[in-house]
Amino acid sequence: MTPTLMFALAILFLPLLSFAFQIFFGSKIGRAAHWFSLAALGVTLSLALSFFANIFITPGYALLDVSAVWFSSGSFTVELGIYIDNIAAVMLVVVSTISFLVHIYSTEYMRGDPRYTRYFGYLGLFTFSMNGIVLANSLLMMYVFWELVGISSYLLIGFWFEKQSAASAGMKAFLTNRVGDIGMFIGILLLFMQLGTFNIQAIAEQVEFGAFDGTGLLLTIAGIMVFMGAIGKSAQFPLHIWLPDAMEGPTPVSALIHAATMVAAGVYMTVRIFAFLTPAALEFVAVIGGITALMAAIIAITQVDIKRVLAYSTVSQLGYMVMALGVGAFQAGFFHLTTHAMFKACLFLASGSVIHSMHHALHKIDDHSTDPQDMRNMGGLRKKMPITYISMVVASLSISGIPFFTGFLSKDAILAGTLAYYHLHHGWTIFLPISGFGAAIITAFYMFRLIFMTFHGEPARKDIHEHLHETPGAMTTPLIILSVLSLAFVFTIPSTVNPFNSQGWFTSAIHTGENFAGLDMEVVGEALHHAHEPAMMISLTVAALGILAALLFYLFKVVDVEKLTRRVNKLGLYNLSFHKFYIDEIYDAVLYRPFFWYTKVVAKFDWELYDQKFIDWWGWLTLKISDWSGYSDYTWLDQKVVDGFGKATRYFGKELRLSQSGVIQNYILGGVIGILSIFILFQAF
């Protein structure tokens, strides 16, 4: 076993060890048990960083590529293996950094929770599963960890399962994800059926050398099917409905799982399979991403729960990433995944800090009915919580796409991608840049709406405001680290500090993508290059417009928001956004209700017809038959035949007992009769 492999296995299994430790010994040790998890995650992080450093020391691909036979049966062999290239190395660092920071943050946020150690155990289980997805070299192994991630997400969303809403949110997340996962599994099996391998590299290679005739319809279907997994996990339209509800989990969990890492797993998987997605499949991917980005952004405008705003913002940003991959802006998509992980984790942890503080204040004034997450109860928090405020502003600037911040670099590249796609294809594809830029302006707007409603203006509730205070160091330190990681130079240094230039270590470590299924990456690259400048201009303008609107609406109150809302609502637009396009209601009407109706009908049929009539009829018949057979059995078989044998046996038994005692002779007799009857019967037939 090479040291590299050992490191990779340690990255994978240390968090699992942490899980096992917390589950078996946590409750006995109590609060101090978190040191074990912190240590395990610290080592994981440093090992991930060592792989990351390797990108610079030994450039090139595949830092590690090993496989071992899991099992084989005839010609059918299933392998498990680890594959680490630059993309995986970057992803490992993202996952373990945020996981580590969330562990630190949680020591304070979850203080005093009755299931404190179990919480850390679940975090470990999640990190293990997520790292498994990142390290997997085959779709099958990825699928296994994919489901494990689903389980840990379920456990963490429903962590406060005493609350009905939390329990059902966990269930909703799990079931919705299953829908996507079934598609993914079908896709994986389609690929396996055709190519006989689960290995991602091998699939890409076979596609390159002409399996599926390069652009076959089947490959498109398989690609879309596998991508369905991403639709579920990355909360893309139409399966995005679970993510906002997932905010029922503890806020650090939202930051780690439902913002930075797990929901990005779908994007990561799409990055992995990008090489064999056909242009048609990619078109589908782009459209799904475009719809998601715009729709979720529109919903986010009207939400009043601070976490829900961020949840929809996450859905929208994931839409961006998916759209980027769909239009062929491979590098930009993965770049946005990385930058988004940092600033969105920062936003969630900052909102957690606000909620934590609100919660304590409400607790002090003995108010248990006010929602600590409702922004309408906040306002003017800026002076009370300066660190939270500043880090949130930094992250908001980043997500809005303002120069000097990471979001600008990655988002700009995605927008350039959509524009380039339109230049290449024309026609309806204008939807993609419209969705991209439209979502960008809305993003800037709702983010600053959130900032202004929460931190600026007059406190909405003076009584609460008095008791608010900045959260402890364990919570603010991760905020500071994450906001620093949201600064643009982190990704460009040392090549450049020019905020408009994204060329840096990231762009040189992550290639621009290969496609073997018919997409010419040269053409895409060329178009991207040309679209770059106009995209930057437009995106700067829309970001500024969005922030300006938020300023006018919520800080200076130049426009009366209430009046505007009422006016807009004449067309039902406000309600449309506030009720999330009624998608949950639509599903209820067209999916759940018909389904429950169907189950009722079937149950009725089963009971009234099948059970009461058919089965009972059989019962009656059987009774009759058994009556008759019982009669003949007793009078004939029993009285005559069996008793006859019985008498005979007793007679022989009596005779035999004279010479021997005990039951053993019956055994021997059985053996003899057995062997004789075999001999005779088999001879006879």
Partner: protein
Amino acid sequence: MSNFSSIAFYLPELLLVLTILAVIVVDLIPGLKRFNWIIALAGIVFTGVLLYGDSGVSESLYLGTIASDPFAYFFKWIFLIAGFFTILVSRHTHALRGADLPEYNALLLIVVFGLFLMASATNLVTVYLGMIETVSLPSYVLAGILKNDRKSNEASLKYVIFGAFSSGLMVYGFSWLYGLTGSMSLSGIQQGLAGVQEPLALYMAILLVLAGFGYKISMVPFHFWTPDVYEGSPTPITGFLSVAPKAAGFAILMRFFYSVFTTNSLTTIAGVDWLTLIALLSAVTMTFGNLIALQQENVKRMLAFSSIAHAGYMLMALSILSPDAIKAVMVYLTMYLFMNMGAFFMVIFAENQLNAHTLEDWKGLGRKAPFLGALMVILMMSLTGLPPSAGFVGKLYLFAVVIASKKFYWLAIVGVLNSVVSLFYYFRIVKAMWLFSPADPKPVKADSVIGLSILLFTIPALLLGIYWTPIINLIDKSIGF
């Protein structure tokens, strides 16, 4: 190979014999007496070391009477593992405590040595020597080692009588074979079969031999001794008897029938398709074992009947008798070693700590010892053959062979139905353990050796259901007569 030069390839067995002698001698010295089990365990460990370094030879040892082939090699490991843990666990079995058991370990080691001989015998004489002289005789004593226990005595006596009966049949069969072919060695018989003029006689001979082997693996109708002996014997011995001699029985059965008949393409003798006969016996054996196990209230007796059913499952593959079928039986035996002995260790634990024998006594055991209770659930899952457990993989291979042969589809169906039946009684144990509150909720702690042994046997019972490639690799290397 001549007797003298064979010694170099017979070192593991010779070390076992030395250990047996050492244990007997130490038993006679009052001061050293209590160390005899350490010597016994050390002897097994060093035998293992020698065995590990033993690469085997293609030529038969001792003038062609004993093979040192990969096939025997594989089975020897099963015997060593079973023997090691039986000696270890016996020391911590309360029922065996206080009884004067000077020869216990020595007898057990003799059985292990006999099993070695059985797995590697290639001559009717060595088969008889291994099977009857060295395995059965000490087993009779071991079954009745609790001299003051009436049940133990009864078990021993029944074992002796039924054993004598079966070995009588077997030796009679051997004599027919010798008479027909003029040879005692398996290869000689195989060659001599071509010239046999009386197929009916040959058929009779095979039946008689099958009776002898069937007795060892408790095949219906030669299973009658099994429940009584298993119930009456001290539990560690029951666990050992249910696994090790059964494995040896299968080893000799496969070696005999495969090398004598299959390599001869002799599938029909005197108009009888003897493979169909085995298939029928397999169906009857598993059905009988499972149906009776269903009725049992005594956990040990239930496991005894279920071990008959497991023999039935393995016989399924024997009715195909291809190299793949042999492989499947070996896979199953490996899984069976862990899950069945693990379950018997759990029975020892229940007897030790709670004096629990019946399902009624087992009620609430899971609540009283949650960790071991959870392990027992895994073992029961595995014995039933539910995924992801070792038992599932074992059954998977057995059924795959039967279905792939396209010969006995009905047998596969019978096997699956039987698995369903077995689910019922295995999970009666689970139900008793977990779904009832114990009369006395005080937690019980297992003796650390017993607890550890249960854990050590449960880990493979689960792990081999997820990752069994190493076992397959080992077995692939071990199919060679």
